[in-house]
């Protein structure tokens, strides 16, 4: 008997007791309904600040109980990869979007407007106008800011003083004059760094040159005006052509110099002036990464004869997929996720601040300029008032349309051809304008 009472649980016993237990649990009144699990959201970004994104996502899930499947892919393949996801119907709720792709994705019906969510729209009051403009297409707003930045003009203060100048150039003509003096004194072979290689940055450089010459590439109706000599594009390209071929203040290698290579060349002390993204200022004044650290200052973008200090700004934002928007509950959760990243989390612009402190990425909401931590960080390598003043003059790219991608390569080649002397600036810009209008008609 004793033996029977203490025998080990056999396989048959285990199955019997398990079945009895399961049956008891399934009996009416004994079954406790399982807690309804919130459907996971899917978010995809390009591979930037991945750790920061992941930790912010964890905080989101902890706060809201909404799990998020997170994926990322390199920037270089991001657009093509996302298009494949959209076409293939891959699950997707929120994603990062570049302003360059907004019309294309919106027209294709892949992303949805978010302007019906008051919880998101309230942040527009504190955002820079060009940021909101950059997220708007066809009168609808498609997201909330991830990061924003603009093309800035930097100079090496030590070289400027060595050349005998007290202040940076106010105009593009002054820049030529100062550069020629520097060349004569042997301070730099090519004082101005321009990166005009065929890459994604090129349109930002081109737009900046055109805007600062008081012009535009496309009018409000979407028609090309770049070919009009009064609209700044021909003048801007002529300035570049002369800078390379006549004054020799910009290297002829500019057509093979990408933004990163140009940045490194400037950081190595090869130039006195450079046009690069504003967020590069931190790196340029970092002694571990730059040989001219401490000497790099920002000035307002030089202006053309009929121009202004305007520059181009760009926007990367959090968007919502059309498939998420079709399901009310899912859309509301996606909106919460977008707000957590692009708006305030726990009453503050946490993610934008984290991004700035982590990688120096710019932000599009004005109150952060008053944040003591951000001012202190900026003060360590730049002039926050100058940064804010230039940001206020930033404008969105006027070429962002559904056919932008098809036009962009030809436009870049046309500008390069003019720099190489194959075609005059007016002819190059006309070729670009003709393609623009042809594409516009085909859409």
């Amino acid at each position: 008997m004793l033996k029977d009472k203490t025998r080990r649980l056999g396989r048959r016993d285990f199955l019997r007791y398990s079945a009895a237990g399961a049956g008891a649990l399934m009996a009416p009144g004994l079954v406790r309904p399982a807690k309804a699990e919130t459907a996971a959201l899917t978010m995809h970004t390009w591979s930037a600040a991945v750790d920061t994104v992941q930790s912010h996502l964890s905080a989101f899930t902890k706060e809201t109980g909404i799990p998020v499947n997170y994926g990322n892919s390199p920037w270089a393949q991001y657009r093509e990869g996302m298009v494949a996801k959209f076409v293939g119907g891959a699950p997707l709720d929120a994603m990062w979007v570049s302003d360059s792709w907004l019309p294309e994705w919106a027209e294709a019906g892949w992303i949805a407007p978010v302007d019906e969510f008051d919880s998101l729209m309230k942040y527009n009051a504190e955002a820079e106008d060009f940021c909101t403009d950059s997220m708007t297409y066809g009168g609808r707003q498609y997201g909330l800011t991830y990061y924003t930045d603009y093309m800035a003009f930097f100079y090496d203060e030590a070289k400027l003083k060595e050349a005998g100048f007290d202040a940076p150039p106010e105009t593009w003509d002054e820049l030529v004059e100062q550069s020629l003096v520097m060349k004569e004194k042997g301070i730099a072979d090519y004082p101005m760094m321009l990166a005009m290689a065929q890459e994604s940055w090129l349109i930002e450089f081109i737009s900046t040159l055109v805007y600062s010459h008081g012009g535009r590439l496309v009018d409000d109706n979407g028609m090309a005006v770049m070919q009009d000599p009064k609209e700044g594009a021909v003048e801007a390209l002529s300035w570049v052509v002369d800078a390379v071929n006549k004054h020799e203040i910009v290297s002829p290698a500019c057509v093979e110099t990408g933004e990163l290579a140009g940045l490194k060349s400037f950081a190595a002390g090869n130039h006195a002036f450079a046009m690069v993204a504003k967020y590069r200022l931190r790196m340029l004044n970092d002694p571990e990464q730059s040989q001219i650290a401490g000497n790099v200052k920002q000035a307002m973008m030089p202006q053309g004869p009929n121009g202004s200090h305007a520059t181009v700004g760009w926007m990367r934002f959090h968007g919502m997929s059309a498939q998420a928007a079709q399901d009310k509950a899912r859309a509301e959760n996606a909106a919460k996720l977008i707000e957590w990243f692009g708006g305030k989390a726990d009453g503050a612009y946490t993610f934008q601040k984290l991004l700035f402190l982590d990688i120096g990425a710019g932000f599009g909401v004005k109150p952060l300029f008053e944040d003591p931590e951000i001012r202190a960080a900026y003060d360590s390598y730049g002039d926050v008032d100058m940064i804010q003043a230039q940001q206020a003059l930033a404008r969105k790219k006027d070429t962002v349309t559904p056919w932008f991608g098809e036009w962009n390569d030809t436009n870049g080649s046309a500008w390069q051809s003019a720099i190489l002397g194959n075609v005059d600036p007016a002819g190059a810009v006309k070729k670009s304008a003709d393609l623009w209008n042809e594409l516009k008609d085909s859409y």
Binding site: W105, G109, G405, G412
Partner: protein, 281 residues
């Protein structure tokens, strides 16, 4: 036949279907960014290309690149294979070293040449400057007159080893009594080379010409990494044109049409080589 079925099924799924499907979509105006508008356009994608200036420019640059590259590869490979066919001290080591470029992946090769050609810190400028051949750093890839030749140089460097091996195999297969007979007839070294060596190397040359022409015509990696088709349109070859049309513009219909034209051109050239070089083999 039953045993072949799995293989046939796999081949059908991974080769026959994609090829047939790409032909099918080449008759449509398919742009991924306009998913709701994919009209049937028949041969329009093909006929549009005939009047496309950019397409013909790309064709011309592809022909130039292929001609320069394949000629250089065949010539250098011939010289190297003749050298390696001789008995001399260090021949084996030289043969091993020769294989190094072949072992380097295409992308790594392209990145290496990007560093070499860089106009600010490139090894080529450094070398020429230190040897006093230049007094200031030169622009290499940014100079449209040099770009295609510099890319061809990088391509030749990578392709010569394989071509050499193919030619060396032909050389090794020449019976020694042919040379002995030629000597008895009083043939000079040059005459033996022209009348014995070269004719016997025809199969090797045919392989080299077909393979390298196909590689040159559809080569992409170097253009992608070194110049992205620039400066201007100096290196905008057919493979780059197809890439831009298909994967940047996301125009799969016209991209497929271009790919078919490229495939037909490659087949035609291969056939031409076989008809001419292979006639007396």
């Amino acid at each position: 036949m039953l045993f072949l079925a799995p293989v046939m099924a796999v081949l059908g799924a991974v080769a026959v279907f994609p090829i047939a499907y790409s032909l099918y979509i080449s008759f449509f105006s398919i742009k991924l960014t306009r998913p709701n508008r994919t009209p049937f356009v028949g041969l329009k994608n093909y006929t549009d290309l005939l009047g496309d200036e950019a397409f013909w420019g790309a064709v011309w640059r592809t022909v130039s690149f292929s001609l320069v590259s394949v000629t250089a590869i065949a010539f250098i490979a011939l010289l190297v294979s003749l050298l390696l066919n001789q008995e001399f001290r260090g021949r084996r080591i030289l043969s091993t070293i020769l294989l190094v470029p072949w072992a380097i992946p295409y992308v790594a090769n392209a990145l290496m040449w990007k560093w070499i050609y860089d106009s600010s810190y490139g090894a080529l400028n450094g070398l020429l400057y230190q040897l006093d051949f230049i007094d200031k750093y030169m622009v290499w890839l940014g100079d449209q007159d040099k770009t295609l030749f510099l890319i061809a140089n990088a391509f030749v460097w990578k392709e010569v080893p394989l071509a050499t091996i193919l030619l060396l195999v032909s050389l090794k297969s020449i019976p020694s009594d042919l040379y002995a007979a030629a000597r008895v007839d009083g043939a000079t070294v040059w005459q033996r080379f022209v009348h014995v060596t070269l004719p016997a190397m025809k199969p090797g040359f045919m392989l080299v010409m077909i393979y390298e022409t196909m590689m040159a015509i559809r080569h992409f990696d170097l253009f992608f990494i070194l110049t992205e088709g620039g400066p201007g349109s100096a290196s905008h070859v057919l493979s780059w044109h197809i890439y831009v049309e298909t994967f940047r513009n996301l125009s799969f219909g016209s991209g497929a049409a271009m790919s078919y034209l490229l495939a037909i051109a490659t087949f035609a050239l291969s056939y031409l080589f076989i008809r001419t070089l292979g006639r007396k083999i």
